[in-house]
Symmetry: C2
């Protein structure tokens, strides 16, 4: 079943915050991860490039970690945006999160050439600190579990 993320939080980040190598729409070299709601869960779809290999035939763990990372910050932004009374596409600027910690358990080798689906469940730890528990599937196979603790971007990140 083909799936699409039609309304992604990354489409709405202000231009200054849209250069992320993982999820920035303005970073020409990046992965362009896009994260949206699917019911009360969040979803990011991504098909790794042929060069994103660990051992030939299997996806590189660092790219899995990158997917979980940006899926986490994007999911947290979606959740806080909704809590603030907004939805993607209503013209309001979403909050921007950064990653405090990232954990990945690699459960099975992830086959290449298949679209990956990251599915996230979000928990508010504190108004500025959210936890996102993510499962990454290749088809029906659960390949990795991840956890991101994301915090609202601190002023130290403002260049």
């Amino acid at each position: 079943m083909e799936q699409l993320v039609t309304k992604a939080i990354q489409d709405e980040y202000p231009d200054d915050f849209a250069w992320c190598y993982g999820c920035g729409r303005l970073n020409e070299s990046g992965h362009h991860f896009r994260t949206g709601w699917q019911g009360d869960q969040t979803v990011t779809l991504f098909t790794p490039e042929p060069e994103h290999t660990a051992i030939p035939g299997f996806v590189y763990g660092g790219v899995m970690a990158s997917l979980i990372d940006c899926h986490g910050t994007g999911s947290a932004a979606l959740a806080l945006h909704r809590k603030n009374g907004h939805e993607v596409g209503d013209g309001s600027e979403p909050p921007r999160f950064v990653t405090a910690s990232l954990h990945v358990d690699f459960l099975k080798p992830t086959p290449q050439g298949i679209e990956l689906k990251a599915v996230g469940k979000i928990t508010e730890i504190h108004p500025k600190k959210w936890q996102v528990d993510t499962e990454v599937y290749a088809g029906d196979t659960l390949c990795a579990r991840g956890q991101v603790v994301a915090v609202v971007m601190p002023s130290t990140f403002k260049a």
Copy 2:
């Protein structure tokens, strides 16, 4: 002080295992992380590319996670190779590890344009399972702490 990793474990991986996007010498698009001994610690040096950005001026977390990941598997391979009586460059084929789990705590925004230094301490958990605790520095600033649990590559990875 300029530093170099003169003898890296990744230089010795068999060709079939040298395609990793993070540390494979044969992957033209990859990061080419190289990991060697420095006393009883391990070191990987890496200067991120300009496109490896999170917010302009700061390094993307997924690239930090990738560095910690391959530094971890490379460090475990160095340690088991040494335990087996070998050193990089003695003509023997080193063991190859994969990542079971990866954890990263992002302590400070990592500035771009500076060479990063990952420094690892290695603990044997089991003959086939090693833990690598890593600190990533930009100059004198400790930017991230990571932990990798690496296991000797299982046969399920053989394509």
